[in-house]
């Protein structure tokens, strides 16, 4: 069953058509990557799912229930982490979670237990200061805690790692992987390595439409690589190789990238053997999601 279904979603801001007939379905209990350039319409889509924006056309269903703009009944199934989460800075993290639990209508004992558990999950259990002095990473972590508080069926994270340093990014990704068991995660980003790390499914958004959707492993293989690199010991050898082969790129000091069919590998190896060229390494280039993404965006 799909946790989230969007059909023909349209939204226009003035002259700019941000979403032009977007269709998307997110299966239950998956970590779903929602990828697009800055300004592609990721946040607009998410805000429409949350009932914060009025779509011009289209329908959204969360856990089978229709989303109605302004009325936020479906939000009881959703936990939301905005790109820059804003809290009440005069509260402590614990106080904020208690407040969130109370407005969700959770039981008092449950709120306390859950808040304590989540604060330790995100590593903020010893932070008794007010949120005012928190770093971006700490705010993101608190953002995840508040989003998970009411045990949502769907966790929506809007670029949770974009503004963080590598360490902070890793922490957030680890947390998202950890919560996969409990909930479906929809996670927007433009950092493709993050998607490769934690997502099972991915959708590419371009110019207000989904241009590709599927399993990360399958999408990666759509574009099977026909490229391999060769790193030689002596620089002069690169010149010889370049004179002898076509479709060749000089990328670094001693490294060449060849493209061609399987036979090309043997040709190059034969040439290396016959001319006694000392090599450092030879490697097939693995197709990355980024390559697929860039190719799809070009179309």
């Amino acid at each position: 069953m799909d946790m989230l279904t969007i059909t023909n979603l349209k939204k226009r801001f003035g002259d700019k058509e941000v979403l032009c007939g977007l269709n998307l379905s997110v299966p239950s209990n998956s970590v779903f990557g929602f990828v697009g350039r800055n300004g592609a319409g990721k946040t607009t889509t998410m805000k429409a799912v949350l009932g914060l924006l009025k779509p011009d056309d289209g329908q959204i269903f969360v856990s089978g229930k229709k989303v109605v703009w302004g009325q936020t009944e479906t939000n009881q199934y959703i936990g939301y982490l905005p790109d820059v989460p804003e809290f009440y800075s005069y509260m402590t993290p614990f106080e904020y979670l208690i407040f969130c639990g109370e407005i969700c209508g959770m039981k008092k004992s449950d709120i306390k237990e859950r808040s304590t558990k989540l604060l330790s999950l995100v590593g903020l259990e010893n932070e008794n200061h007010r949120i005012k002095g928190f770093s971006r990473g700490m705010k993101q972590r608190l953002g995840i805690a508040q989003a998970l508080l009411s045990r949502p069926k769907l966790l929506i994270c809007d670029e949770p790692t974009s503004a963080l340093d590598p360490e902070g990014r890793k922490e957030i990704l680890d947390i998202l992987v950890a919560v996969k068991e409990e909930t479906t995660v929809l996670f927007s980003t433009h950092i493709l390595s993050d998607v490769e790390h934690i997502c099972e499914e991915v959708a590419f958004l371009n110019e207000g439409k989904i241009v590709m959707q599927g399993k990360v492993s399958e999408i990666r293989n759509i574009r099977s690589s026909k490229e391999f690199t060769l790193e030689v010991i002596n620089r002069e050898d690169t010149k010889k190789l370049m004179d002898n082969f076509k479709d060749i790129r000089h990328t670094e000091e001693n490294t060449l990238v060849f493209s061609g069919e399987e036979n090309k590998v043997f040709d190059v190896l034969r040439y290396v053997y016959e001319n006694k060229i000392s090599i450092q390494k030879m490697e097939r280039i693995e197709p990355s999601l980024e390559d697929v993404f860039l190719e799809v965006m070009k179309k």
């Binding site: 949350l50 009025k54 936020t72 939000n75 939301y80 905005p82 804003e86 009440y88 509260m91 969700c104």
Partner: protein
């Protein structure tokens, strides 16, 4: 209901921790003390100025002050108190729009009308507390120095002015759900009060206008009875409720 109280509690914590509550308390204590203090000091000040006034041809004879002088001063101070209150609380909604802190609250499924109600309730509570605290201070001083019974219709006059403040709060709420920034809310509220004030200058409209409730001098001196304010009281009360109620559908359809 639980979520409404949770949001009211949050508003209270915000008022206290942001220092707004303390400003309101200090302000209204000051105004409460100021009215009798000014009345008490008037003869002394006149005496000090007697010489220079004499040169100008004015002869100061004995100046007598009583509770009425102090109450007149009280009703001159209260408008400044209300303006300060409006300045302090006019950003109660707009600050949250700008910081986007309501996004998380709404995505948790809190009904939007509860935000309107909680914020209205908090402003009403603080205005009521501050206003009557100020009144109590002046009342105690006045009864210590003079005799409060000299002021006629004191209770209606005080309640009417309080009701005027409630109406101004409902204007803050209404303009806050329509407009985006604090300046807009201030201009809208100020503009609405000014418009009503100007309309009240027309004799035919005067008795229906909320601004009539600010005119307490004729009440205190018993020139007019408290009953003649009834139309203005009803209009003001109804408008206050209507403004807050009308804010709910506007808030429901607002893009956050």
């Amino acid at each position: 209901m639980k979520s409404l109280f949770a949001f009211i509690k949050k508003e209270w914590i915000e008022s206290v921790r942001s220092g707004k509550f303390i400003y309101i308390v200090i302000l209204f204590i000051l105004f409460g003390i100021m009215s009798p203090a000014i009345a008490k000091l008037t003869p002394w000040m006149m005496e000090l100025k007697a010489d220079s006034l004499a040169e100008a041809g004015l002869i100061v004879t004995e100046v007598s002050v009583d509770a009425l002088t102090s109450w007149t001063q009280y009703f001159k101070n209260i408008p400044i108190g209300l303006i300060a209150f409006v300045l302090i609380y006019s950003n109660i909604f707009t600050k949250e729009y700008q910081s986007q802190s309501l996004v998380l609250v709404f995505t948790k499924g809190l009904s939007r009308y509860k935000v309107v109600l909680a914020k209205s309730a908090m402003m009403l509570l603080l205005w009521t507390l501050g206003y009557y605290f100020c009144f109590a201070i002046t009342y105690i001083y006045n009864s210590y120095f003079w005799d409060n019974t000299i002021a006629h219709n004191l209770l209606p006059a005080v309640v009417y002015w309080w009701l005027f403040g409630v109406w101004v709060i409902s204007l803050i709420v209404l303009f806050s759900v329509i407009l985006k920034n604090n300046t807009g809310v201030l201009l809208g509220t100020g503009g609405a009060v000014l418009t009503v004030y100007l309309a009240g200058l027309l004799p035919k409209l005067r008795e229906y206008m909320p601004t009539m409730l600010m005119d307490t001098s004729s009440l205190l001196s018993d020139a007019t009875g408290a009953g003649s304010y009834m139309k203005a009281v009803i209009v003001t009360g109804v408008l206050s409720v209507v403004f807050v109620a009308a804010s709910v559908p506007v808030m429901n359809k607002r893009e956050i």
